[in-house]
């Protein structure tokens, strides 16, 4: 029957072409959507690793925000023990530490609340260096203790523009004053010099963000402690295994610290991907329904067109089950061809999009990002199976009708 089905499929060219085009369009759309979502997923994953490192180690009360004051900080002695454990890890590459601080920031004329990330300027891990604006000055330099890079929104509030950057009067940039409470609760104030501006793409973040050297943050908070340890591994695949092993060893060393992976920390990515997942499922369902009804229509038309043929082959000894199998085989063949053509088409469209360097501004972002379709083999299976399954299901009803028709009625059909 497969041989006959093959002949029918390849010789009923118009019907096959129509079906294949419908299925191919559905498969291609689904593949392109999947590739787009996947690119976002993949891109956000890279972004999350760049932003959070592979692992972050901190006090459990830091993670669940239940700490009172600064009791979650990791002191020097504890940090040294953590670092020595880290260095024994086979996939460990580098680490850095951070200390966040909040307070008031101001010039002579204006002031604003701010949230600063105290970082080691020499570290490349979870560095915000890549957010530095074009011609927006420079990033924190190793050894600097009293410089700051401001979010563009915060700089605007303070009246500091790109043109104001650069050394002046023997100082590295325009001066500002930072006020914050120490870990002991006393007010503290220091002078800083703005050397750069950065833009995250999220205006509400840019309104509050500042990056200061860790030593400055420790100095104004009057502590030697840090908030968290950010770990870079040799490869992303080692994330979970290192986390599990390290957690066990921290426990054995009686260090009450908790580890989060980049995946745990990238909550926005998770939410975005959950939403994209829902959209993908919806599009998948819509395409399933579209292909289902289109192929049902085509196969039902085919059933009526081939009524006498069905009567003939039944009369000369084809069993009902064989007629059913014939229609179903034709459906599967058309589904397979349509699915493969669709994947090729989708791959071509994806390649064209990638080559075209199209850029767009996602909602909530102030910068343009490239529109890319991720073209990987593992994305072909889902769209292909949806198209094939949809075709198969839509063929069942006409196949059943063809198998059940009375021979004499079919032969009489004009």
């Amino acid at each position: 029957m497969l041989r006959i089905a093959l002949r029918n499929v390849f010789r009923n060219r118009r019907r096959t072409l129509l079906s294949v085009v419908l299925i191919a369009l559905g498969t291609a759309s689904l593949f392109v959507f999947k590739g787009y979502f996947d690119f976002i997923h993949w891109g956000m994953g890279l972004e999350a690793v760049a932003q959070y490192g592979h692992l972050q180690i901190a006090d459990p009360t830091f993670w669940d925000k239940s700490a009172e004051g600064y009791e979650y900080l990791i002191d020097k002695e504890k940090l040294d023990r953590v670092v020595s454990l880290l260095k024994e890890e086979p996939d460990f590459k580098a680490y850095t530490v951070q200390l966040m601080m909040t307070g008031m920031i101001g010039t002579e004329k204006k002031s604003s609340v701010f949230m600063a990330s105290g970082v080691e300027p020499e570290s490349e891990i979870a560095s915000l260096k890549y957010l530095l604006m074009d011609e927006g000055g420079k990033y924190l330099q190793p050894g600097e203790q009293n410089t700051v890079v401001l979010g563009i929104g915060l700089a605007n509030q303070l009246g500091i523009r790109k043109e104001d950057l650069g050394p002046r009067d023997g100082f590295p940039g325009p001066p500002i004053v930072v006020m914050a409470a120490t870990v002991g609760g006393q007010y503290n104030a220091r002078n800083l010099f703005v050397i750069g501006l950065l833009e995250t793409g999220q205006p509400e973040v840019d309104l509050r963000l500042a990056v200061v050297p860790l030593v400055f943050a420790q100095s104004i908070l009057n502590t030697q402690s840090v908030e968290n340890v950010i770990v870079e591994l040799k490869n992303i695949e080692a994330t979970e295994s290192t986390k599990e092993r390290l957690e066990r060893r921290l426990q054995e060393a009686d260090l009450n610290l908790q580890i989060k992976t980049w995946d745990d920390l990238a909550i926005f990515r998770k939410q975005t991907m959950a939403w994209f997942g829902a959209v993908y499922r919806f599009i998948g369902a819509a395409i399933f329904v579209l292909v289902f009804f289109s192929i049902l229509e085509v196969m039902t038309m085919s059933f009526f067109e081939r009524m006498r043929e069905i009567g003939t082959i039944r009369a000369i000894g084809t069993k009902r089950s064989q007629v059913f199998g014939l229609f179903l085989s034709e459906g599967v063949l058309i589904g397979v061809i349509g699915g493969l053509v669709g994947l090729a088409l989708g791959w071509g469209v994806g390649w064209l999009v990638n080559e075209s360097d199209i850029r767009y501004e996602p909602p909530g972002y102030a910068i343009e990002v490239p529109l890319q379709i991720r073209l990987v083999w593992e994305n072909t299976l889902g769209p292909f199976l949806i198209a094939l399954f949809s075709t198969l299901v839509s063929t069942i009803y006409p196949a059943l009708r063809a198998a059940r028709i009375r021979v004499v009625e079919a032969l009489r059909y004009v």
């Binding site: 006959i4 029918n8 003939t312 082959i313 009369a315 000369i316 000894g317 069993k319 004499v408």
Partner: protein, 222 residues
């Protein structure tokens, strides 16, 4: 070899019951060439459908090699048709997407014969019906007479016990009809296969070894 016993067939048309066959008794033996003629609506095609096991009688029985077909399942009936019966239709009923060769080969695919055996039988029969050089043509590339000859080859390719032909010349001009009948008659002699031909074409009757007339659902010997 083939026998019908008190065969009746009723059709329900609206509220009315139309009696198409009224107790038909018929016997066909090996090598027979039986022509059943009669006017339109006399029940010829109904009789042929019942003998071909593609329709069921209201009462009575069809016996093929002494086996009562009414007792057979749908699947077994299909097997019986493919193994013992060859069919020739008024409108040729070839599968449009298949070539002459593939149409003739189709029943052999159902019998799951080897490719070599299929080739041997199809080539021999297409040769016999004079279409050896037109094997690759599709039905729409063949004349009416050529199509009917392909249908004859298809009907005989399984070496059936009986070939049933329903108005085989109705869609052909008289010369072509005569040619087709000559081929059928020759194959009847050579293959010793029984033919039952129903027709209202008087030309066909001259090829009959035996002739019956159908009138108002009954058979009358002529």
């Amino acid at each position: 070899m083939l026998e019908t016993v008190n065969l009746t067939k009723d059709y329900q048309v609206g509220q009315e019951t139309v009696r198409a066959l009224r107790g038909v008794n018929l016997a066909v033996s090996q090598g027979d060439f039986l022509v059943v003629n009669g006017p339109s609506g006399s029940g010829k095609t109904t009789l042929l459908n019942l003998i071909a096991c593609i329709d069921a009688p209201t009462s009575g029985e069809v016996l093929i090699e002494e086996m009562a077909v009414s007792k057979l399942s749908e699947g077994r009936l299909a097997e019986l048709r493919r193994e013992k019966i060859g069919l020739i239709f008024q409108t040729f009923n070839l599968i449009p997407v298949l070539s002459a060769y593939e149409n003739a080969e189709y029943p052999l695919l159902l019998l799951k014969l080897s490719r070599l055996e299929r080739q041997r039988r199809v080539n021999a029969l297409l040769e016999e019906v004079g279409l050896a050089d037109m094997q690759k043509r599709r039905p729409d590339e063949l004349s009416g007479g050529q199509r009917q000859r392909v249908a004859i080859a298809r009907a005989l390719v399984t070496n059936p016990k009986i070939v049933l032909a329903d108005e085989p010349t109705a869609n052909l001009d008289s010369d072509t009809g005569a040619q087709v009948m000559q081929i059928m008659r020759r194959l009847n002699e050579e293959h010793k296969v029984a033919f039952v031909v129903v027709t209202h074409d008087p030309v066909v009757t001259q090829y009959a070894k035996r002739m019956l007339r159908m009138r108002d659902g009954k058979l009358v010997e002529t």
